[in-house]
Symmetry: C2
Subunit: 243 residues, 2 copies
């Protein structure tokens, strides 16, 4: 069944008003009719709704029941990736949303070959948010991944102080780094994981990460590309916490 | 450093002869010179080599040392995916190679929307093998993923008898299926994992899988698309066996 993420302002209990793109999607793309059912999600709650009315400007849903599914990970995982090409960012956002990530934070790193274009920056962020919203709907999540604006390296390091656990993927990490013990430790509610761009993390960056208490982890014995590493991280964190 | 997969016939100790595409890659794409170093991999062994000569038809490598890296998973994992569009197959082959899969087996399933085109079949398989080879080189593997020809459902079921453990991803599986205990059990050397196409696995298929002793597993609490599910499976199996 279709899912739509709504703002809590759209709820006027027991009705929900669907507008803009989602209105268009229900009416024109899905060609739904009065009586059809959809899910509406807001603030970690899903509502099973029936279409009550379709007007020229909005769709009115009638809430039938509130659902108590748990599809969110018990910790908030933010993937911080060295700035990469637009297509790779989009793919990463799409996949990590499906795998349960909380946020995506692109950061300018020494070996990022992509340059920041301030003109396109806002539009790029909007597009990433749209991809995250659609992936969240498709994978039955209750929250949409948050896409941060592009961070400078130093700002990211300062920001890292707000996380309970900070990790970075590093092929030269001690193979015995106890990834599992770190993730499942009591009191860990937010995790930040830094993943380098195509060219990897520079030695200078490794040093600064270590000085900010980031812990290096390995992602298995093969070399993973920058678009595959976040998928390994999200799959294995999900696995540790859910299975 | 560049890696090239070679046939054992190319080795004439202490020399290795590089021909065809790899010759072209070394000479024209990478523009390497005599004295440059590369890895050559054959039968699970990596050789660190120095370029001894570049002729008009081949590159001659001189083996300097045999390396004893272990980049292969200790069990052979075959991902069997319901037939999907070419682009999705290519992406899956690319990513699961990097994550350590042993083989990829496309199978015709009830809800596969793609039809088999016998004319293009061989060319498609060749292209998948090429993608697997490049991904293996890039991720420092010693083996190239084996790409099977397209299986019929019944043939796949019969073939499954040759595996130590057969699993299938199923969102309605008992959430307590002990995925971890299954994978890490003693005596498991080969694992077959069936993943449905976009439309999922039909009830009839679930019944036939169960009758062939396949065990259903869940892949976390979110719904994963057919191209993301194999990445979760390979990441988590790798994690269980390597970390």
């Amino acid at each position: 069944m279709q899912r739509y993420f709504i703002d809590s302002k759209q709820i006027d209990y027991p009705y929900i008003k669907i507008i803009d793109n989602d209105y268009h999607h229900i009416k024109t793309v899905m060609r739904m009719k009065k009586g059809d059912k959809v899910y509406a999600c807001s603030n970690n709650t899903s509502y099973l709704c029936v279409i009550d009315d379709i007007t020229d400007t909005d769709v009115v849903l009638l809430i039938q029941t509130e659902l108590n599914e748990q599809t969110e990970l018990p910790v908030e995982v933010t993937i911080c990736q060295g700035l990469v090409r637009k297509e790779k960012m989009e793919e990463t956002v799409d996949y990590i949303t499906e795998l349960g990530a909380y946020a995506y934070m692109p950061v300018i790193m020494e070996r990022s070959i992509v340059k920041v274009n301030n003109d396109k920056r806002e539009r790029k962020n909007e597009r990433l948010q749209k991809i995250a919203k659609e992936a969240a709907e498709q994978s039955h999540r209750k929250q949409v991944l948050k896409v941060h604006d592009i961070y400078k390296w130093k700002d990211m390091l300062e920001e890292s102080k707000n996380y309970d656990l900070c990790l970075f993927a590093y092929e030269n990490a001690d193979k015995d780094a106890l990834y599992k013990d770190l993730i499942t430790k009591d009191g860990i509610h937010s995790i930040l994981v830094v993943i380098g761009p195509e060219g990897g993390i520079s030695l200078k960056e490794v040093e600064s990460l270590l000085s900010y208490n980031f812990i290096p982890i390995t992602l298995g014995k093969r070399i993973l590309r920058t678009q595959v590493a976040p998928l390994y991280v999200m799959s294995t964190i999900g696995f540790m916490l859910e299975q």
